[in-house]
Symmetry: C2
Subunit: 199 residues, 2 copies
């Protein structure tokens, strides 16, 4: 198995857990959003951010938006983090097979010309509410609000950095409803597809 | 196996062939768009159409649009066909497990409260061009035009009768890229998901 797998997912769908178990079963590294973000921050963001923020302060008009791969010196802090994250994702994918959750990894690797099995995990709001309720123990109202907020955040994050719509079928080899299929089956299909990828 | 399976697909993706093989392997009926359309026509459209067209000719202003489930007497011929098709799909699904390709079957069954495993099959334009070329032997230019025309037709047909976007992940338990995964694997996952549906 020599495949890089990316997992994009709706909040509460269990996509994170599915990605983690796929990595464990295949014995390859699992990189989730948090890990990517932390590593990116440690590896250079804090230092770079302070430096660039200092310098850019003299040119406030030059704080313009850009995509992941531009090299604009005056990117916003979030855009700098995204670039360092993208570089980190590419670096890890070049090292060998791994599972990467979130961070627009499907788009990042596609643009870097690195083949990956791209997977999208989703589920109905009802299923996600129950799942989040089981995991976090909140009330119904809070859960729904939280899910909607997270959904909105992921959609706009993905749109901003990729200029594509979150979850569109064209971008994924497999889009799976974890509520209908169950976590175990999602894991099974992903592993099987990864083992047969590019054969 | 007691599951109704619907297959929506991009033209040239092999979704029709996948659906047919799933039905054969499961030993259940396969209903494609052509069959549904023919049966619907034979079962009442021709007779009804002539009758209603005759009567409606006196009230041309009353030829208004409507959705699949309305019962407007002055529907256009195409809308009448769609309604008879929908009734036929529901009737077949109530009889027992089957595979239904196209004709907005996912939407029709959902609205009729009949559980179904909804599948979407897609592939890159490059893969679909090659596949259509192999099957029909046309030139590259003709193939691309034909695919785009068919894509457009399916999208607007689905949008018109369902008011939903063709291929959106929310509506499918599995969305599979037949170009990346291969026909055999798509068949395997669909059969496995069908056998575990609602368990």
């Amino acid at each position: 198995m020599n495949t890089v797998i990316t997992i994009s997912r709706e909040f509460g769908s269990g996509g994170h857990s599915i990605g983690k178990q796929v990595a464990e079963k295949l014995g390859i590294p699992f990189l989730d959003s948090q890990i990517v973000e932390e590593v990116a921050k440690e590896s250079g963001f804090a230092k770079d951010y302070v430096k660039k923020a200092d310098e850019a302060a003299s040119y406030p008009d030059l704080f313009i938006t850009s995509n992941i791969f531009s090299t604009n010196y005056f990117d916003s802090p979030q855009e700098q983090i995204q670039k360092i994250q993208s570089e980190y994702i590419i670096e890890q994918a070049k090292k060998g097979p791994c599972v990467i959750a979130g961070r627009c990894a499907d788009y990042v690797l596609e643009n870097a010309g690195i083949p990956a099995l791209n997977v999208f995990i989703h589920a109905s709001m009802e299923f996600r509410k129950n799942r989040v309720l089981n995991v976090y123990g909140e009330t119904d109202e809070r859960i729904e609000k939280r899910i909607e907020k997270k959904d909105k955040g992921r959609k706009s994050y993905y749109r901003y950095y990729t200029d594509r719509k979150f979850g569109e079928y064209e971008n994924y080899a497999l889009s799976l409803d974890s509520g209908i299929l169950g976590e175990e089956k999602c894991i099974e299909y992903i592993i099987d597809a990864a083992e047969n990828f590019n054969k």
